[in-house]
Amino acid sequence: MELHDLCDDPYYAASQRQGSASNLSCDSDQMRDVNEFELVYSKENVAIHPSQYASERIIGRLRIIKQSSSLFLTWIPYRTASNLVGTTGRNLSSSVSEKDMNLYTIKSVPLTNIHSIRRHIPTIGWQYIIVILSSGLAFPPLYFYNGGVREFFAILKQHVFIVRSADDANVFRLNDFQDSLQKSLSSLELPRALSVANGATLHHSPSAVSAIDNSERENGIASAGVSTASKHSGKKKYKVPDPAHDLSVQVLEKFSLVTKLARDATTQIFREIQDTRSPLRDKKLQSSPFPVTTVSQLDYRTNNNTRTKPDDIEGIPVDSKFVRSFVRGKKMKLPLTREEWRTFLGREGRIVDSTTLRKRIFYGGMENDLRKEVWKFLLGSYDYDSTFAEREYLDSVKKSEYESLKSQWKSISETQARRFTKFRERKCLIEKDVVRTDRSIPYYEGDGNPNVTILRDILLTYSFYNFDLGYCQGMSDLLSPVLFVMRDESDAFWSFVALMERLGPNFNRDQNGMHTQLFALMKLVELLDHPLHDYFEKADCLNYFFCFRWILIQFKREFKYKEIMQLWEVLWTHHLSEHFHLYICVAILKTHREKIIGEEMDFDSILKFVNGLSGNIDLDAVISYAEALCITAGEHGAACIPPVMQPRWHEQRMENKAITTSESVDMWKTWKHRFSLVVNYGWGRQFCLRILNGRKKYS
């Protein structure tokens, strides 16, 4: 099965072609030159974690090499089985591919191109460094499995001029020359390599550009500027370029795929760390050593001269718009077909590799006729390990269980109902909503449509099955596609039950579930788009209530019926994150950030705008973008999301069990500690206090 990751992208492909083209162009003399280097530093077992899962790792060797008096940083993954099979013995070839390794490889970065390196030396856990280039790009964290970050800096100090940042003791700036003479002298040493990092020279690299040009023609995306430049230089494809130059371009090209996002995240994480340390947030912000955002992101605050201006990166395709369009352009696969599905079924119908299956569904969903069967796995009604026979048996048991649940309210006579206000009320609520749920969909349209009655029956049965939760507006929206897919009352009911196990907390009467979700969303936006967060803060929009509908009914009203089924199955795979819906929110908001900020929308306008996006969101693009954001945020993103609030009916169960309850308090405290929560935002703080106070009862 083919893996879908950044490497499937045309831009990556372009950089690969570019790489081979430059190999072609290297004559033997240059090859010899490449081999003549002096090893300054070498460290084994330095890893990159391409996803939020620590189990997905690429281990390699970090080196500093000296070549014709210039220093280069390299990190090359091991080409051994250790990278394909994790230490746990789990075969990771499904998650870490050869392409991943190529993507993350740091072939050779001139040290003169490095702006700063941040070190992170926790008392527990792996030490890591983050390398930030002058252009503002950042490489993903490099984890030193055997320790030795201090030694790395010690050696670095012997060879380059390093200054510890005044703002953060863990940030070391390279090439930070106060003295302009020194600076210009320094830049004379490696003029071309420097210029690459500082931008604008990508156009001068013929092979790189023509490769991009090819991919553009194939895909019809990317900026016209690059395209024009490439037409002029296309003929010079095999002209010998400067190797250092070319390498840098290659590195930059690859990393422009991921690192703009990574940089945003990392710089924001740094700021966050700084923020938690100092209340002088704005001061820190202004003196931040990192070019936090690209020019376009800063448009709305161009008057703010005090802020460190990012390096001039115009003309180089690392601009946020570029990256966004690149990420959006990523193609989803075709839906999972029945033939493909069969390959996942082992003997007796067990799912052999559920991880790969979920990943496959994440990238493209499935054909409609598969949904009835596969959704039950995704929702947890079926065990992946179950056999055909077990599932058939389960279905029949569940069917009779459903019938007996349904008979509980079916048997209520009219006389009894007259004395049963709760029942009458519920029935009335449900009846009001089912008649206005998706009536334009053929399956539910027309007077006296029997499927509308089935919707009612299922919801009423559910309100007896889960009497404490009852019926809440929004549930009919969640059930409608489920019944549409299942075409069977009992199957639809149990699938809905499974779905509500996940979404139930959102319907809590006190809205705590929703507040938790919206709060996590706020933290994620803060992490992934700090300027947008700042804007929302200024506009007094940090309650994120404009995303209420998105989350409560999982975007049901935002997409076409066919699309929502695909989105839901993507969310249910829990591939990358079980909170992927929050990344979808961030992706949609980020897609429209320029408009929101540019038009200085207030809360009302944002709500109106957000509601108006309904039916106009490009699903595949949003999933791809959210995926990129989720990978970028990694564990920092996961730390934004508090432990899932238990639904009320679970909590009541917990009240009887002191230990379980204190465990949940611990969970919350741990999360709070992990995040070293500094909530300075209006209701956010109140909300947290409310939760903590609420929890105190139990502890």
Partner: protein, 200 residues
């Protein structure tokens, strides 16, 4: 609050009432002139704006349409806080919805802005044969509580625009003494208003 500049009034208006009473339908009729037989339920809130021209002023309504279910009641204060006007909607075919409307009136009297213009709308007036709440009963209640009352039908458009027009008329007009922070004197506002006058 209604904000006043020249003869332009910006007024925040909130719709409250039981689910299925027809809040969204009233707004859609007023704002877009549309009616959907199966208007979907409102999740969270929806926001609309519509401008009315009266003889003495132009009123721009910023309308908050809220979710009706009791469960989402805790969110309502966010929407009615600072509102200059409210329409409390009930369904004339549902006694429960009228009781619910009374609860909303009480809540607004306690929590809302005291100068709020409040209207009571008995919606679905086209369903005369299913009526459960009499006109007299509702009118008496409205009079007792100082509410402006009309029976409306979003479906047939009866009294819908009239309700909004009447609210617009009742909104407080220019009250120059109302700025507690005092007045900031500078040249810019005058220039701005001049500029906007020639643009509009």
């Amino acid at each position: 609050m209604a904000t006043i500049g020249n003869n332009n009034i910006n007024a925040k208006l909130v719709l409250l009432g039981d689910m299925g009473a027809g809040k969204s339908s009233l707004v859609l009729r007023f704002v877009k002139g549309q009616f959907l037989e199966f208007q979907e339920s409102t999740i969270g809130a929806a926001f609309f704006s519509q401008t009315l021209a009266l003889n003495d002023a132009t009123v721009k309504f910023e309308i908050w349409d809220t979710a009706g279910q009791e469960r989402y009641h805790s969110l309502a204060p966010m929407y009615y806080r600072g509102a200059a006007a409210a329409i409390i909607v009930y369904d004339i075919t549902s006694k429960e919805s009228f009781e619910k409307a009374k609860k909303w009136v009480l809540e607004l009297q306690k929590q809302g802005n005291p100068s709020m213009v409040t209207a009571l709308a008995g919606n679905k007036a086209d369903l005369e044969d299913k009526r459960k709440v009499t006109l007299e009963e509702a009118r008496a209640y409205a009079d007792e509580n100082g509410l402006f009352f009309m029976e409306t039908s979003a479906k047939t458009a009866v009294n819908v625009n009239d309700t909004f027009y009447e609210i617009a008329r009742r909104l407080p007009r220019a009250q120059p003494a109302q700025n507690p922070a005092g007045m900031v004197l500078s040249n810019t506002p005058a220039e701005q208003s001049k500029a906007s006058a020639c643009c509009s």
